[in-house]
């Protein structure tokens, strides 16, 4: 056994008399060459488990119980010097945020060579050679050029590759990957994940993978450890757990994920929140959120039930016999009905947002970043149109341009046949109450120094200043109730709320003016899956109740599948394919759409990743012809100089198809024509 964790507890002193029991008695084993996934919502102690293994917990932390054996050595028995010899050498770690885990002041070559010289005592000349090898191995193009780059010159996916290269420098026996792809696009995620499993096959290292994404778990893991409230809820191999989920938490976690198939029911949600680590009571920690809760659950924690082989679960339901435990509890609430109209609420015609690039003392405009490049789009009343694409493709800019939040937008945007691009000053201010926006980051979108009442009520102050204080607070309470919050929170501040609650507050702020059109800019991508399901269901309910029209911006295709009526795929400022949601998912025509769909880790079958090559090019200098051709699998397979290849590099493909379903691709064009 390479790594064996026994009854590990990691507690923190969190203020006077308060102890946060972040990790509270967990055990697991990890064999050489295998991958163990630690799965759970945020706040369940996954990351602290990893830090405990590295012995890098914060100063106020301590271990009341527990042993960690690595290659038969008790890690808690080592002195700091010996531990330092292990870190980066035998145990390496990659972090969630590639943007901040590389030192911006050093060239990546220097950062790569550091562990080599530190642990392997490699000489300077050899270490550079080895660094080049490593960069090549993790698939960085032109390693000779890249090795002298600074981190800011690399894209997010490249940085994460460099991080992986760094952690691989000393050929570690154990790699701890803490949400390695959460900050990356699906296409890049597929690249990084396939790189990790390739490297594992080559070197035989073990991977401790921390994630909340069940799709990644399905793709990568051999064993699973479902954590809840600092404890193990269920433990077993991938097949054992995926075929036979015994713990209600595992079941609910799994069923709250939007699937790529069509579904007529609302998403299953886990009510409530993960309890704070300072407030664990007696009994099962999941009891308050569990649908199968029994009296005994609140009294004491269940013993560990062994099912088959290694498969263990900690749940009282097992005492009642395995049959009742296996009962899948799914909501069957249907998706609320909506009135779909064909008249467009929003008509976008030739919208262009070109940000000027200024240089020199006098800020001369030398070039333009074509963030949104000649987009036309209809958004029918009461419908949801989804914008999908990798980061940097201009989705957010398009959303903000429609709302007149970007001064550089040009073109025409009709709202109920009124061109709102021409509105200025007071008229625009008055018009803003018809359209609102909900942002991605629930922590950045609420002013931290204002009370909830003032945040939600601010729109009323602007647009209905004559409202009496009574009427105003009544309206605020009503809208808060509508998003599922109690009106007792009026006097509180945003930092007292969790991400999901904050997102509800942000939705309330957008709804208080009773708008007809909402831009939802990745409203759930910062949330846990269970909370994401709550917010998505809420958005669906609100839409049917108020006949809202949504522009739903997302990079998560399963979420889009659940929410959208029409999907528009964006690449480098242009829509490359647009189709009704069924049609797009069943029959993707553009190679980019196909690649996106293939990059999503599947929940059912394990499939080999076919990742897209390369990153999104800079919109400052898009590739000639079809913007996608340098990454397009069809173009790359095509012979140089063929008619299609010439077309792809020569001219941008025209839209093929009608107004509501079209594709821009030289290759897909003939088939699109046939369908017409």
């Amino acid at each position: 056994m390479l790594l064996s964790v026994k009854n590990l507890a990691t507690h923190f002193h969190a203020g006077p008399g308060k102890i946060a029991r972040a990790v509270d008695g967990i055990s697991f084993d990890l064999e050489q060459g295998k991958t163990l996934a630690l799965v759970g919502e945020s706040g369940c102690g996954k990351t602290q488990t990893a830090f405990s293994i590295m012995r890098l917990i914060a100063e106020n932390g301590y271990h009341p119980t527990g042993e960690i054996h690595f290659q038969g050595q008790n890690l808690f028995g080592l002195n700091p010097e010996e531990m330092r010899g292990l870190r980066g050498n035998d145990i390496a770690m990659i972090f969630q945020e590639p943007m901040t885990s590389l030192n911006p002041l050093f060239r990546i070559g220097d950062q790569l060579e550091e562990p080599l010289r530190q642990h392997l005592k490699v000489a300077k000349r050899d270490s550079r050679k080895r660094a080049l090898e490593l960069l090549e191995r993790v698939g960085i193009p032109d390693p000779h050029k890249r090795i002298d780059d600074f981190p800011h010159q690399l894209s997010g996916g490249m940085k994460q590759r460099v991080m992986i290269a760094m952690s691989l420098a000393c050929e570690p026996k154990l790699l701890i990957a803490d949400e390695p792809t959460t900050a990356l696009d699906v296409t890049i995620q597929a690249q990084v994940l396939s790189l990790m499993s390739d490297l594992q096959n080559q070197t035989g290292m073990a991977i401790l993978l921390i994630t909340h994404d069940m799709g990644i778990v399905n793709q990568m893991a051999d064993d699973l450890c479902i954590m809840y409230g600092g404890r193990v809820a269920e433990y077993g191999s991938r097949e054992q757990i995926f075929n036979n989920m015994t713990h209600p938490y595992t079941q609910r976690l799994f069923s709250s994920i939007p699937k790529l198939e069509k579904s007529d029911t609302l998403l299953d949600t886990i009510p409530g929140l993960v309890p704070s680590a300072t407030e664990y009571g007696e009994g099962c920690r999941f009891a308050d959120r569990c649908s199968e809760v029994m009296d005994i659950c609140h009294e004491r924690e269940s013993k560990v039930h062994h099912i088959t082989g290694n498969h263990k679960t900690v749940c009282h339901l097992m005492e009642k016999g395995s049959g009742s435990a296996r009962k899948q509890s799914r909501t069957t609430d249907p998706v609320p009905v909506r009135k779909l109209e064909n008249t467009p609420l929003i008509k976008i015609r030739n919208l262009k947002t070109h940000f000027p690039v200024r240089k020199g003392v006098f800020l001369r405009v030398v070039d333009h970043i074509r963030a949104v490049d000649d987009i036309s789009l209809d958004i029918p009343k009461g419908a949801t149109v989804a914008l999908v694409g990798e980061s940097g493709c201009g989705k957010t800019t398009l959303g903000e341009s429609i709302l007149q939040l970007v001064p550089d937008a040009r073109g025409e945007v009709f709202f109920d046949d009124q061109n709102i691009m021409n509105l200025k000053g007071e008229a625009l201010k008055q018009f803003r109450k018809h359209m609102q926006i909900v942002f991605q980051d629930p922590f950045g979108s609420l002013q931290p120094r204002m009370t909830i009442e003032r945040i939600v009520g601010e729109g009323l102050e602007v647009h209905q200043p004559l409202l009496s204080p009574d009427e105003r607070s009544q309206k605020i309470s009503r809208v808060l109730e509508e998003v599922g919050l109690s009106s007792s929170i009026l006097e509180r501040y945003p930092h007292e709320f969790s991400g999901g609650q904050r997102q509800r507050i942000a939705i309330a702020r957008a709804l208080i003016l009773e708008p007809e059109f909402l831009v939802l800019d990745e409203p759930t991508s910062a949330l846990d899956v269970s909370v994401q399901a709550q917010v998505l269901n809420l958005l669906k309910e609100l839409q049917s109740r108020h006949t809202l029209t949504y522009l739903f911006i997302s990079h998560n295709l399963s979420v889009v599948r659940y929410m959208a009526d029409t999907v528009a795929i964006m690449y480098l400022g242009r829509i490359v394919e647009q189709a009704p949601v069924e049609e797009l998912f069943m029959n993707p025509r553009h190679p980019y759409t196909k690649s996106l769909l293939e990059s999503v880790p599947d929940l059912e079958i394990r499939k080999p990743f076919k990742p897209l090559v390369g990153d999104v090019p800079s919109p400052l200098n898009p590739p000639s012809g079809c913007h996608f051709h340098p990454r397009c699998p069809i173009y790359l397979n095509e012979e140089q100089g063929s008619a299609l290849a010439k077309n792809c590099t020569g001219q941008y493909p025209e839209k093929m198809g009608g107004n509501h379903s079209f594709v821009s691709c030289h290759h897909a064009a003939p088939s699109a024509k046939i369908q017409e």
Partner: protein, 420 residues
């Protein structure tokens, strides 16, 4: 801001835990509050005089000698022997020697020029020597004109001098540069007693003014000056930096270049030019220092505004149609205040030091005003007079050190990594 929000409370708790910063703040606050009513602590006028059952409050109201039964319409010198005699019912009018003295004391009050000083101080010395010989006959001559003696009762402040009073009489016979300890007389015969005899607890400066009173008033004006300079500097800085940061683009560019040009003009240079054709006063000095005091804080505020204006809650407010000014005031400013709060004590320090150095160079507030810088200059010119240099140096160092400790404490409390 009636309600302290939680975050601020935590910060105050963190600050209180920092013992050094907390006690520094308490000491500084005590010193400042103690020196605020300096007129009641160091003054040549008594707090209360009760003459024949009638109460007078000379600090708050100005009385003339007539009010006390004499003949002159001018304000009496309450510390003089002449005033004693008036109260005792002995008229001060006709006697020649006292007349002479009286005219002296009047001159004294007006007296400011450097040149006359030395000549005058010799005169005083001479006069002190002859006092014993002259004084006794005078009352004898006045007895004839005397009024009936009255009951009187005087309550003096703890220190019977203010910052500009130059005494006319001395028990030790030494008015100018009197040491607070026994010193050998200048002519080598005998000793001059400590100035404690006259109530000068820290001696007198080279014009005979009480050093303690000048320090006391000087500390007050330094603190007030430093604090108000920091306040106005911060306000102007917020306005300029905020506008630049929020609007960005051309406004920011032009503003930055102008700021750089403005900042490269030496402050002292502007001061020397301006003081050559404007009459220097504390207010003028304050205005001039304000021309540059905002620059540091403006740079920080600008950077914060540039950062915060891209936050999503600002976009959300724009999406709601909130006006630019309201966004700046309500959404951005509260989130950009950390550098302001953190730098405030250091700005006060900078203000105090600016005033002290200008006073030291004789470019500061004009002469009779109490000032630490002027005391430092005197100490430098009279190195033998340690009682001027050492207390001034000590109180200046103490003030600056305490302010720095307070500033460090605030900075640590606002350090986001130290949230409890």
């Amino acid at each position: 801001m009636l309600k302290l929000d939680k975050e601020l409370k935590v910060k105050i708790d963190v600050y209180k835990k920092d013992k050094r910063a907390y006690y520094s703040f308490l000491i500084l606050a005590f010193l400042f509050l103690a020196t605020l009513p300096a007129e009641l602590v160091c003054n040549v006028r008594p707090l209360v005089i009760v003459v024949g059952g009638k109460a007078y409050f000379p600090i708050f109201f100005t009385y003339s000698e007539k009010d006390f039964g004499s003949t002159l319409p001018s304000e009496p010198d309450y510390k003089s022997a002449r005033f004693q005699r008036i109260l005792n019912g002995v008229s001060a009018a006709p006697s020649t020697p006292t007349e002479e003295k009286n005219s002296f004391s009047l001159q004294l009050d007006d007296f400011e020029e450097e040149g006359l000083k030395t000549a005058f101080s010799i005169g005083l010395d001479d006069f002190d020597d002859s006092e014993d010989a002259v004084d006794p006959p005078a009352p004898a001559a006045e007895v004839a004109l005397s009024l009936s003696p009255r009951d009187y009762w005087i309550l003096w402040p703890p220190v019977r001098y203010d910052y500009k009073y130059i005494p006319t009489e001395s028990k030790t016979g030494n008015v100018v540069l009197a040491a607070p300890y026994r010193t050998p007389a200048r002519n080598g015969e005998g000793f001059i007693e400590s100035s404690w005899e006259d109530g000068h607890y820290l001696g007198t400066d080279d014009r005979g003014r009480d050093v303690f009173a000048r320090l006391f008033y000087g500390f007050r004006i330094s603190m007030l000056f430093g604090a108000s300079l920091a306040i106005t500097g911060t306000l102007i800085g917020c306005l300029i930096g905020g506008t630049q940061g929020f609007l960005g683009g051309w406004v920011d560019l032009v503003g930055q270049r102008l700021t750089e040009i403005w900042g490269s003009i030496p402050r002292l240079y502007i001061l020397i030019i301006l003081s050559s054709f404007l009459v220097p006063s504390a207010l003028l000095l304050f205005l001039i220092l304000n021309l540059t005091a905002w620059m540091g804080i403006a740079a920080y505020i600008r950077a914060e505004f540039l950062k915060v204006r891209n936050f999503e809650f600002v976009k959300a407010a724009k999406g709601l149609g909130v006006s630019n000014f309201t966004i700046m005031r309500r959404h951005i400013l509260p989130n950009a205040l950390t550098p302001v709060v953190t730098f405030f004590p250091f700005e006060v320090t900078a203000g105090i030091l600016a005033l002290v150095s200008l006073d030291y160079l004789n470019l500061g507030v004009p002469s009779p005003a109490p000032s630490m810088g002027e005391l430092l200059a005197q100490g430098k010119n009279n190195l033998q007079a340690l009682w001027i240099l050492l207390p001034t140096f000590a109180s200046l160092t103490l003030t600056i050190t305490l302010l720095t400790f307070v500033g460090e404490g605030i900075r640590n409390a606002f350090d986001p990594r130290k949230t409890l």
